[in-house]
Symmetry: C2
């Protein structure tokens, strides 16, 4: 039997309240609006609203309309949607990775899980002020979509900064992207087809492994030294044995090891790329976060044939939420530009303009000097705390820059189990399982040291140590 029209309409509205379209205290559509939208009579809407009011879902306020009642969700029980997605204790690697990435924005507890910069440096205020002033100037009011290659002023600033990495490129050789992740995704898409093999570092940043898997590619993990980065000898061997299509690496402060590839290895790598006629995707996102001295030269600086696609962003040096990154794709320029164009036509112009303005100011370099020294001290403090609290068998990387430390425990420790135990106590780390598809790093985990140390976060490290020691005894 068909329900009466006003009952149907009432059910729709209670569903919408449950689904979050209208929250407690928010105004519902006016009777006229609803009658027009649902193409029912004014009388039907009035009856539906009166019925909902009687049932305690909504309340009328004189001259302002109907509102979701403050108590309605309690009277009808918890919203159904909150029960729709239970979180299983054992997730797939993909789900685990996404949860780790999200964990950083947890308001409660201590988060060491994602390689996200501290956003309390003075540069954040400058970014905000620049946003306000750029918005006021009405930068968005050109016609059209903005160009696929990205804002000229930003590309100009990037070309200037590239000189610091030993890279000499023209403004026309750069394309802006939605962060470095997007640059790497465009590059992989343009250079590979499903089934192709990509050489990566081992351990490897999980965002890259997920991308490779999601694109239907295969990864081959090249042993990586905690000091010198990807082993050139091992890469040579792999190239002899496998039809590797592209090398994907973070030569400067590799995530998670924090190591830097020496210049002579970069030259040897370039020779291998030439010999096997393949390309390299260089993720240089941490390149400007050295703890001391000059920033490392990019592999791209040694590239005379346009084989290296240099990718980076302001996510670690300004704010990841700007989603401003770039790629210098060498001889693959046209392919990458077309990929970006079909993927999103262009990207928002205002964040690009803000990044360009901030880079053009001397304060940005001042910020980087301050950030480098601060991160160096925070890294040292994390290692000191780990030595104090973690089991004596632990080994830690000794990063020369970047935002993370890699910890290796005896084989009997399960990093994923540790992750769940910490999560219960509102403390977030990144389990080693995510950094390989081979299961090689189940006894490892990664911690970020970017945030300022507090009593709470120091106690969190002590708590992790306690968990580890318990696991050592139990297993």
């Amino acid at each position: 039997m068909q329900k009466l029209l006003y009952v149907q309409l009432g059910d729709q509205i209670t569903d919408q309240i449950r689904q979050g379209l209208y929250k407690v205290g928010e105004r519902l559509p006016s009777v006229r609006e609803l009658s027009k939208r649902e193409q029912v009579s004014i009388a039907t809407v009035n009856t539906a609203y009166a019925n909902l009011e009687q049932r305690g879902w909504i309340e009328a306020k004189p001259k302002s309309g109907y509102f979701v009642r403050r108590s309605c969700l309690e009277t009808v029980g918890l919203p159904e949607t909150s029960n729709l997605k239970p979180k299983p204790r054992h997730m797939s690697v993909n789900e685990l990775a996404m949860e780790v990435q999200r964990g950083v924005s947890n308001k409660k507890g201590s988060s060491f899980c994602a390689a996200v910069p501290d956003l309390n440096f003075p540069i954040s205020k400058i970014i905000q002020r620049t946003y306000v002033s750029q918005a006021r100037e009405g930068i968005t009011f050109d016609q059209g979509y903005g160009s696929p290659e990205g804002l000229y002023e930003l590309r100009q600033q990037i070309a200037r900064r590239a000189l610091g990495a030993g890279i000499q490129i023209g403004v026309d050789e750069l394309i802006t992207t939605a962060g470095a992740q997007n640059a790497l995704a465009l590059a992989l898409r343009a250079l590979t087809k499903p089934g192709d093999i990509v050489a990566v570092e081992s351990p490897c940043y999980f965002g890259l492994l997920q991308m490779i898997e999601s694109f239907g590619l295969k990864s081959i993990e090249i042993p990586t030294d905690a000091k010198d980065g990807m082993s050139i000898d091992a890469l040579k061997l792999a190239l002899q044995q496998w039809p590797i299509k592209v090398v994907l690496s973070i030569p400067a402060y590799s995530n998670p090891l924090g190591c830097v590839m020496p210049n002579e290895n970069k030259q040897a790598l370039m020779q291998l790329l030439q010999q096997y006629d393949i390309a390299m995707i260089e993720d240089d996102i941490y390149g400007e976060l050295q703890f001391e001295g000059h920033r490392p030269k990019a592999v791209k600086a040694f590239d005379e044939e346009g084989r290296v696609l240099w990718c980076s962003s302001v996510s670690k040096t300004m704010d990841p939420k700007l989603r401003v990154g770039w790629i210098a794709p060498g001889k693959y320029y046209a392919k990458i530009l077309h990929q970006k164009y079909v993927n999103s036509i262009s990207l928002p112009s205002l964040p690009q303009s803000v990044a360009a303005q901030v880079m053009a100011q001397g304060q940005f370099d001042r910020h980087l000097r301050q950030a480098r020294e601060t991160y160096r001290q925070r890294a040292q403090h994390l290692i000191d705390l780990a030595q104090m609290h973690f089991p004596s068998e632990m080994r830690a990387s000794s990063p020369q820059g970047g935002l993370v430390v890699w910890f290796e425990m005896p084989k009997k420790i399960d990093g994923t189990q540790l992750y769940y135990q910490c999560r219960e106590r509102e403390v977030r780390i990144a389990p080693g399982e995510l950094f390989s598809v081979t299961g090689l790093y189940q006894n490892c985990f990664r911690m970020s040291f970017a945030k300022p140390w507090t009593l709470e976060s120091e106690q969190a490290v002590a708590m992790i140590g306690l968990q580890l020691k318990e696991m050592m005894i139990k297993n």
Copy 2:
């Protein structure tokens, strides 16, 4: 023989000026900065700068440093880069499509080429003011990357507006994207693998055809009626004969025909999707730009199994440069979220927040009412002008909404030739060649009527008519 160090450095700097890193009148790095960056002595930098000054490239200003000389580019001839990319008269379809897309931002002449909204409505000022106020409130200063599913407040507004299209979805069933193009790209990536077949309308918006080709997919073009949209009978036949993986369509004000699929056809389409157990990607980007009456219901409104991925954006109703779009992926939610995550982690939060704020205001609906009536009048004026100036053999679509009119000429007219002839006169249209891979529409072209009519743009239509009449005689 190796060049002297200061000569090498000087060559680098002149290259950088040619490449656009430093423009006429801009300050070059200080002697100290350059010595540090290039790791050469202060003396070498001083000699290099002195030499460049002598050769007329740069000039010193007391106490402020070295600047690129106003006359240097003339004295050394045109910058080399401007000769690097000659524009051939006959481009590939990809290049042609990108040029058409860019043509809209040409400052000179009249542009009818891209389906871009008029940005001179009062809503543009409101968007700008909202940008300023949102930036002031420091929306960007949460920790982390922003969530992969996108800003909650925006998804809430979208879920409310979806009701107008007959779609009832929860806030948790939506994912924000970088415009509708990005939504469609994520959907195609998630649902297909290279070699798969996608059913599209014919003629079909070229951005979709390019995406399909670029992803290694094949398109099958389904005859589309200028009034009723994609032919259901023809689709049925195609489904019987080919292993079609997904149907991609613009049921509301299809680009370029401006037609609307009737509700009974939408129901028949849903039955076909069920029968063949396939998905549909619905591009609803023009859905709210009806010329009169209610906006059309979306196909998604008839979808009870989560087979339809509903995609749209604010590019036609607010500003394409916001790059704010969305997708309601039905049962493919997890796949799409993962695609977005590996593609860019998240998207800039501020443009999302601006779009949400603007949608929440009553002014947005007021703007839509005004825009619909304005576009209706402008469309009528374009058709009137075409009837006045174009050869009498021409046929034109009669759009019921959206931003474009489709013109069909006798077979002897070449739309691509017309495009080049118009381009020489700084008038831009979209040649029919782009709207099919079959060569079916060589004698057609598309014109946008979004911009306000001026004497210049009216004369441009007369000029197009003149070209057409000449071509009629010559061929």
